[in-house]
Homo-oligomer: 350 residues x 4
């Protein structure tokens, strides 16, 4: 029973079959393959965005970093949550790709940016003033890094503040599918209709081998995106293998089916874990991720029972490793079944 991340599980059979099928014969390299045209058409259609430009890369970090570089000059400020993947988990990739822009942190509960905190930061930003980095970009994440969700209205409130201040908006949607599936809204409602200019639309964590679509609702940035992708060495020669994954993922709502399965597994798991003594959920479980504090004993029982996940002393609370509470994260991918969740809960129960 494996819950380290939704990137540790298998790809969906439909995706694997598409990759295999794409291997037939010859194809133009570097994104000129016929499948890519299909991908763009599908995304334009499903997002109700007939002018959008779409590009594929193989990692979520690439999608985020290249997008931020298109939106932000080297002297720009990118406003993001302190837990954002772009801030914490990309080893400074955004700084690298932007040529040294600054990520300005705007806190908020449960991994969600607080609009008042954002308003405060934006008001205090000194522009135009050559001494300071200049406010440029808002980067949000949905599903958030704490497994919570922004509703379209919540997104809209943040992006309105940003737009009023002249910023453009990036959405890290590594788990965008889980968000759409959980909220039951349309892809458009959770992206451009909510003020998003550029979306990292994740596939890897939800049943693909390794592919992310970057959706540019502002097509003016397309050429720059292409140059930055190439220069960052993220333009695949045998691009058809990226296209094939994404095409299969988009077909017949597969992406939403897979996400719904992961969300459902997480809800079942959270319900069980939340009811256990010694377990405290750290944030509402709204998609496919669960964060919790738990006792050493509970942790040991789970591990002994064959459950694999990440746990660590929570050193954000105290620098003393022994006094720190034990935190853990469990992530459900699309392949989890009810039976597996129940076995997992049994292991935690000890």
């Amino acid at each position: 029973m494996w819950f380290t991340s939704d990137n540790a599980g298998p790809a969906a059979p439909e995706v694997m079959a598409a990759v295999q099928a794409a291997n037939e014969g010859f194809a133009w390299s570097y994104g000129e393959d016929a499948l890519m045209a299909e991908v763009e058409a599908q995304i334009r259609d499903q997002f109700e965005a007939p002018d959008a430009k779409v590009y594929l890369v193989a990692t979520g970090s690439a999608a985020n970093s290249i997008s931020l570089a298109c939106l932000t000059p080297p002297w720009g400020a990118i406003y993001c949550h302190p837990l954002a993947h772009v801030e914490i988990d990309e080893c400074g990739g955004p700084e690298f790709y932007t040529g040294g822009a600054k990520l300005v942190l705007v806190d908020g509960q449960d991994g969600k940016m607080d609009p008042d905190a954002l308003a405060l930061k934006l008001a205090a930003a000194r522009v135009p003033d050559v001494h300071h980095v200049q406010k440029s970009t808002l980067s949000l994440t949905n599903v958030t890094e704490m497994g919570t969700l922004y509703t379209p209205a919540e997104l809209g409130r943040l992006t309105s503040l940003a737009k009023d201040a002249g910023l453009r908006v990036h959405l890290d949607g590594a788990r965008f599918s889980n968000a759409v599936a959980a909220l039951g809204c349309s892809p458009a409602e959770l992206s451009w209709k909510a003020g998003v200019d550029m979306l990292s639309f994740g596939g890897t964590k939800n049943g693909c081998m390794g592919v992310e679509a970057v959706v540019l609702f502002d097509p003016d940035l397309a050429w720059e995106f292409e140059l930055r992708r190439k220069r960052g060495a993220h333009l695949f020669s045998k691009h058809r293998f990226l296209s094939a994954q994404m095409a299969a993922y988009l077909k017949d709502g597969l992406w939403l089916d897979l996400a719904a399965r992961a969300n459902r597994a997480a809800a079942r798991l959270a319900a069980g874990l939340g009811a256990m003594e010694d377990v405290t959920l750290l944030a509402p479980v709204e998609a496919n991720m669960i964060f919790l504090h738990l006792s050493e004993a509970r942790n040991a029982a789970a591990e002994a029972g064959g459950v694999t996940y990440y746990s660590w002393p929570d050193l954000t609370r105290t620098p003393d490793e022994k006094a720190a509470p034990l935190a853990a994260r469990l992530v459900c991918d699309w392949s989890k079944t009810d039976a597996e969740i129940d076995r997992t809960l049994a292991a935690f129960a000890g």
Copy 2:
């Protein structure tokens, strides 16, 4: 009949099967998968380099750029041929990854760097002198961009000059397999025994979907490589799909079999083309690439006969597009058969 590039054809069935097989169950992310250990062991064994460190990325440009960044400080000079992929075909990726190092061009016939020209440049380099970029790295390519080969002795002569001047050596081996297959020497003889410190060992152009191994014969650079790979957004979460390709490629000499097929097809094709009126081979055909000048009529005949390849007015000779001779490149991949080559020659014959 398709000859635009060896990246336009299908992946080998063994590679596809391995990818499919790797999709079973869960695996540690980010290169901690069991298949990666197998890959490293195989490369160490086949290269007779028990201390080498091995990393996988998905594009040749990533392999080259990250390697050059590990070998070269921002104020360093990288010596390469004017036709080198790192100079011409990566949209400045090496400059981006190194933080602005300078590629210094050292010419030579048939895509091969002239040792005397290298000696001249190295002697004229002013070091240590804070006003100038400081000589740091030699970057060679084998098979060269003109389809020719460096023998181990030729490599050694260039790398000796470099080592005597304090440089380290990178080899762009996007078609390393074709070189080894053509020369009949060992991988070691064509890499570390010939003075190479860091090798981009290509898989993509020779039957993989998209994977390149970077071999660090100097393991001291390993940690920096890992950080630069991550920061460049080239560390795959579902890394097992890279590992699986490379493991299959390395198994039972598949990589050499595939390369030998491509080389053989190119030789057959070159023999036929070279005998035609109006066709001039621009360099010896020693691996799987053919460069030629041809008449407009010959070009038209080939296209009409269903041969797909790149041709262009050779504007390096004259800025007048109409007066420029017509140049073309044909590349054979592993999938070419004798029958297909013969059909291709028939089309060219008109």
Copy 3:
């Protein structure tokens, strides 16, 4: 009566005379002038650091950014106070010079970093872990941006935490002279003896035209510093004019005399202002800078009375410009006299 900054006033006559004198005849360019040797000897002597290397640049931002770039790889984390000049006032210069390192903010009262907060951040830093920026450098400022001081013991506590965690230490000493003068300790006690590896030793704000010395207590970084300075376009050809300023500044304790005058003026001014109704000092006035909240009326009176300084709505408290309290900063330079301070106080008194 001008208090916008200590960079708005005149240079000291001794400095101007030295510049004039240095204009005699010819001199080797780019730092090879005889005066530079004198500067290095003086600093080694006054800092009791016979192995230190010393370089001159013309701006404090250059001193800071180039130093941080020598101490921090592109994937490194620099820990600094949220108010640090390197974070706020250099338009991202440190990110630019380091190739995209990350400034990690560690808060604390009165512009001084809280050791417990630093310990917490260092403990929570995940190293070695390729996903995150790697802790590299501690950057402190003394005099702080709030006009307060770190004692040698306070510095030592912070640098000890840093050294134990493997970091190196940079000190932004744009107002180092004011700190030494105020604390009455030796330059060594406030730099290398307190754990500082690299010091930006300011001249510009304290009576020079434009010169800062970077003192490398770790001479191993010297060559890299020279290359980065040149590459950043901060190596002066007519370097003797930088040397001359710094030599005069170091001679016979001029730098400490000038600083003592500025500190004394600020103390006198703060005493007067602090006693006024409607004025709240925002931090202890320990050197030559005063931060305060004041009423609109008081502010208007001062301006009407001919006092020039910066005031602004304090938007860090509320994003509503009208509701924000009025903040102000007054900085005393070396040229202020008791009489001028008294006239200033009279203006504030209205």
Copy 4:
């Protein structure tokens, strides 16, 4: 008798006096000083460019690198002569400031770019094509690095080719004054009327302490220039000392008088040296620089006679230091008198 460079001599007395005078009282920092307004007005007037924006920096490298960064995206190509200062003498500063743009070398005799060679390169540039750097900027130098001159017509021919290809044009005018003085044309004729968009107008080498004006004939780039200057740490707080130098330099044609003196000295020196046995001038002496090959004996005589200049084995011809001819450079600054030139010639005569 000192001829190493025109940056080794004294500043002009008018400049020194102006610096001294500027030290009176307080002034707004960071370029808001009154003298700067005067500088901009003077340059607009003398260049007949009422919309031009003008900025000051302290080094020629800063002027060049920041300008090129405004004109060139990270994926851009900058066309320059192989001997250009931006290519050879700035330790990669342009690559650093641009974020890794590529300098593409276009050769030509006597340090002057050959228009046919430029046309060839521009025609061969593949745009728009994501695989290659994209042609962006032409960077010329006048006076060239070989001491020769482009006439307005010669400049115009090169800039026309550039403009037709969509490039913008930068002129490194470290010795622009010497060019204008020698050619007897107007500043406008040698800059914007000849197609120059951005000019590095040098002061340092011609009688200033350290100041260069960047003239933006395209004012749209002004804000970006300001941000890049600040971020590069080249915005002086006590900016009035830069303004004062430049204002004095511009006043009453001082810059042209000083340049004429230097040119005249060089002509006198070249005439004498050129007549000597064992001496070969390497390029026409059209401004204030002389390049020559000379015998070891002649070199020894000059050194013995107290002449200071640079000489070196010309390793661009052969990597064998012993077989290489002895090259030398002599540069005359504004302070050279006829008497000093004659004494110098006597020393060379032995």
